[in-house]
Amino acid sequence: MEIQTNTCEIPARNSLERFYYDNKTVRDFGIACVAWGVISLLVGVIIACQLFLPRFYPDFDLGLSFLTFGMLIAIHTKGAIFAFVGNMIFMGVYYSLQRLCKARMWSDTLSRIHFWGWQCIIALAVVTLALGYTTSKEYAELEWPIDILITIIWVVFGINFMGTVLTRRVKHLYVAIWFYIGTLVTIAVLHIVNSMELPVSWMKSYSVYAGVQDALVQWWYGHNAVAFFLTTPFLGLMYYFLPKVANRPVYSYRLSIIHFWSLIFLYIWAGPHHLLYTSLPDWAQSVGVVFSIMLIAPSWGGMINGLLTLRGAWDEVRTNPILKFMVVAITCYGMATFEGPMHSLKFVNALSHYTDWIPAHVHIGTLGWNGFMTFAILYYLIPKLYNTQLYSKSLANLHFWIGTLGMVFWTVAMYVSGVMQGLMLQDFNPDGTLKYANFLETTMQVLPMHIIRAIGGTMYLTGMVIMVYNLWKTAKQGSFVANEMDEAPAKERPENDAALTGYFRHRIVEGKPMIMLALATIVILIGGMVEFIPLFTIKSNIPTISSVKPYTPLELEGRNLYIREGCNACHSQMIRPFRSETERYGEYSKAGEFVYDHPFLWGSKRTGPDLHRIGGKYPHSWHFRHMRDPRSTSPGSIMPSYPWLISNKLDTRDTRASIVAMRRLGVPYPFGFENEAVDDLQAQALKISDELKKDKITIPEDREIIALIAYLQRLGTDIKGEQTSEITK
C-alpha cells in the first residue's frame, strides 16, 4: 500500500508554512543501493574465488572474456563505490538535506533525472566494462562518452542540491551540509581533471597525460575519490544520522567544524603516497608522506567526535542494532585512517605496497565504514519511510554479527597474506640469491588465506541478503509515505515588517552556501596545484632518456589489448629500487621510460609478477603458450587463460587514428607515419608469426596474440645496456 501524501485536514499553524518532503527519490536510491550492493558484492566473492580456484579447476573462466579477473574486478570496484556507496550517499543526502533545510528538494524533475541518470551510468558501466571498454585508470575506467554523462548528471545533482540549500527555511547550515558541499565541488574537479582524454573512436580514448604525470593525476584522483566519495559524504551522514539515532546532539560541534576544514585541506595533498619508491620525483613523494601523516589528526578528531556523541548512551548501543552498526562503522573509520598514514611511511610502504595488505586496508574502509554505516542508515530509514517498525530486530542483530565476523575473516586473512607474501618476496638466501626466485611459489603459500578471504566475503554477503529480506518485510508491513508533511516558519521576505534589515540579513544568509562552495573549491585546489604545476612545468623532474622511443603500431595495438583485458589489475609495471626487486625483475624503472605511456600502466597490486622488464625474458613461443594456458608453462598458475586472443583477428581500423591521436598528445611520430602504420604493423606481425613457426607454432599473423606478444617483448627494453643500476636498498 502506498500513501501518496500524508495530507492533513488541519490548516497550518499560524505563521507556519506547510510543505512536503520528497520521500520517493530517497526510497528509490535506497532500493538501488541495496540491489547494486548485492550484485557488486557477489561479483566480489566471485573474483575472490578466482584467485584460488584455477589451482583446482583450471577452466574456471569457461573461456569467456567478460568472466576473467581483470574485467570483473573493474565491475566490482565500480559497483561497490559508485553503485552501492553512491546510491547510499544520494539516499542519505536527499533525506537529510530536506530535513536540515526544512524544504523539499528544489526540483522534482532534477531529482528524477538524477536518479535515472545515475542508474543509467551504472548499467552502462557494467556493460562497457564487461566488453573491455576501459581507460585502465583505477576507479576512472569508464570511457569518454560515459565520463561526459557522469559530468552532466553530477551537475544536475549539484543544481538540485544548491537550489535546495538556497531556498531553505533554516538559518544555519548544519555541518553535514558542509561535508556535502565539499563532496560536490571536489568530485566535480577530480572527475574532470582525471578524465582529460583524447577520443580515438567512440569508445576509445587516450589520457592526455603520460607516464609520471598521468600517475600523479591518477592517484591524486584515486586517493581523493576515497576521500571525497567514500569519506566526506559519509561523515556528513554520520553527523546527521548519529545524533538522530542516539537522540542527542553531536559531542562537539566546534570540533566538527575544525574536522571539516582540516580534513578537506589535508586530504587533497596526500595522493602521492600511492607512488612511494616509484619514478615520481622525491619531493612529491615527501609532500604526500607529510600530509598523509598529518591526516591522522582530523580523521581521529572526527572519529572521537562520533564515538563521544554516544557517551551516556552505551546501554542503548548494546540493545539497538542500528547503533551497533554505527559504532563499528566509526571504529573502522578510525582504524582505516590510522592505517593509511602508517602505509605512507616509506619503510612500511616498501613492504605493504603491491600486496594483499592494501586490499585489507581498503576493505576495512568499505566493508566496515561505508558498508556498516549504510546498513545502519537503511535500518533506520526504511521503517521511517514506510511509517512502521523494523520487521525483525533479531535478524538485524544476526546481520550485524555475521557481517562483523565476515569482515574479520576477510581482513585478517589478507593482512596475513600481505605480510607473508611481502616478506617472502624480499627474502634472500645466505649466498645472495632470492629465496623465492619463482613468484608463483609465494602465491601458493598464501592460497589458504585467499580461501578464508572468500569465506569471509560470502558471510558478509549473506548478512546483506538477510538485510534485504528484513527490509522487504518491513516495507510490506508498512505503507509508504511518498510525500511527508512538515511545517516551518516561512522565510523572511522583504515585504515583511522589518523590511530592509531583515532583507539584507536574509541575503547574507543566502550568500553563505555560495561562499562556502567557493572556499571549499579554493582549499582543495591549492594542494593539487602545488603538486601538479612543478611536475608539469619543470623539465628536470622527468629526465629524458634518448634511447626511449615511441611504440610501433603493432606494440601500440598490443598495449590497447593489455588495457582491454585488464592485465594491470594483477601486474605492475614499476620496479622499485630495492635489491629484492632489481634481482627479481631487472633494472629499476626510470621516470624517462614512461614519457610515451598514455595512459601509464604502473598498476597498484602484484597478484602476478612485475612486467616492466618482461621484454626479451622469454621467447615468443613461451608467451603464446602462457597466454593460451598459463598452467602449461607455469604449473599451478592462477592467471586466467586468454584463448580468444588466439582466435580473434586484430582490429586495425583505428590504428591510423591512434597514431594521429598520440602525435597530438606529443608522441613524436613523424608526419605521414599514420599512412604507413598498418603496413608497418603487418610487417612486424609477420616477423613474429615466422619466429613462432620456428618453435612449431603455426598462427596467422593477423591475430590479437601477435600484437600482445609484440608489446610484451618491447616492455622495458629501450634502456637495456644504457645505464648501470644504483641500488638504494
Binding site: P249, I257, S262, P281
Partner: protein
C-alpha cells in the same frame, strides 16, 4: 624522521616544509574561526538534526 624525508637533494626540499607551514597557518585560522562563534549559535546549530517535528507523521495517521 622528517629529516629523512626531506634530505633528498633535489632542490625541492623546501616543498614539504612550506606545505607544513601553510597547513599550520590554516589550522590555526580554522580553530580561531570555530572558537570565535558564539556558544548560543553553536548550540542552536548542533540541535538542527533533532529539531524535526517527527510527531506530524503519527498524528496524521489518526
Amino acid at each position: 624522521m622528517f629529516k629523512d624525508f626531506i634530505k633528498q637533494d633535489t632542490g625541492m626540499q623546501i616543498y614539504p616544509i612550506l606545505s607544513l607551514l601553510v597547513f599550520i597557518g590554516f589550522f590555526v585560522l580554522i580553530i580561531a574561526m570555530a572558537y570565535a562563534k558564539k556558544k548560543s549559535e553553536i548550540d542552536e546549530a548542533s540541535r538542527i538534526p533533532l529539531d524535526e517535528n517527527d510527531s506530524i507523521l503519527t498524528f496524521n495517521k489518526e
